[in-house]
Symmetry: C2
C-alpha cells in the first residue's frame, strides 16, 4: 500500500467550490482498480491550502488513474481552482 | 479534530535512524491529552522525506505538547537527523 500526499493551493475565494468539486471528483478516483481510501483536508492556518490523502495498492495503481480517461475529467473539475501547480508524492508507512 | 501534517527532510544516510528514533518518540506525543493517532510515512520518490500525520483533538492540544517538557525530549531524539527545519500545519477533514 502507498499513500499519495497531494498539496493543492487554491485561488482565494474558490475554497468552497474546490471542496465541492473535489468531493464530486472522488468517484473518478474511486473507480480505479487499486484505489483504497480518500481523505481531503483543508488548512487551518492557510484555508486556501488543501492536502489530499489517497491510499492506493501501489504507485502503479495511481499511475493507471493518471493514464485513464478519468484523469482529464478530474483535472477539468478541480484544475480551474488551482493557484499554483499541485504537487503529489507517494509515501509508505513505517 | 485536526490533522497535523508535518514534513521532515532528513540527512541522507540517516533514514533508518530517523525512522527508529521517531518511532521511539511517538510515546512522547501519545502521552499528551488530546492526542489521537500517529502515522509516520517515508517517501517513495524521496526516501529522505518523511510525512508525519498526527490527529489531535484540537490545535490547542498540539500546542500543549509543544509547550510541555516532552517537546524538547522529542526534538532531541529526532532533531539531529534534520537536513532542513521541519514544517508543520494543521488541517481539518472536508
Amino acid at each position: 500500500m502507498v499513500l499519495e500526499v497531494a498539496l493543492f493551493d487554491i485561488t482565494p475565494g474558490a475554497e468552497a467550490s474546490f471542496a465541492a468539486d473535489s468531493t464530486t471528483g472522488r468517484d473518478l478516483l474511486a473507480a480505479t482498480p487499486g484505489f483504497r481510501t480518500w481523505r481531503m483536508t483543508q488548512g487551518v492556518e492557510s484555508p486556501t491550502r488543501f492536502v489530499l490523502l489517497v491510499e492506493w495498492d501501489s504507485v502503479e495503481a495511481h499511475q493507471a488513474f493518471r493514464d485513464s480517461d478519468r484523469f482529464p475529467q478530474w483535472r477539468a473539475l478541480i484544475g480551474p481552482h488551482f493557484a499554483t501547480p499541485p504537487h503529489a508524492e507517494h509515501f509508505t508507512d513505517l
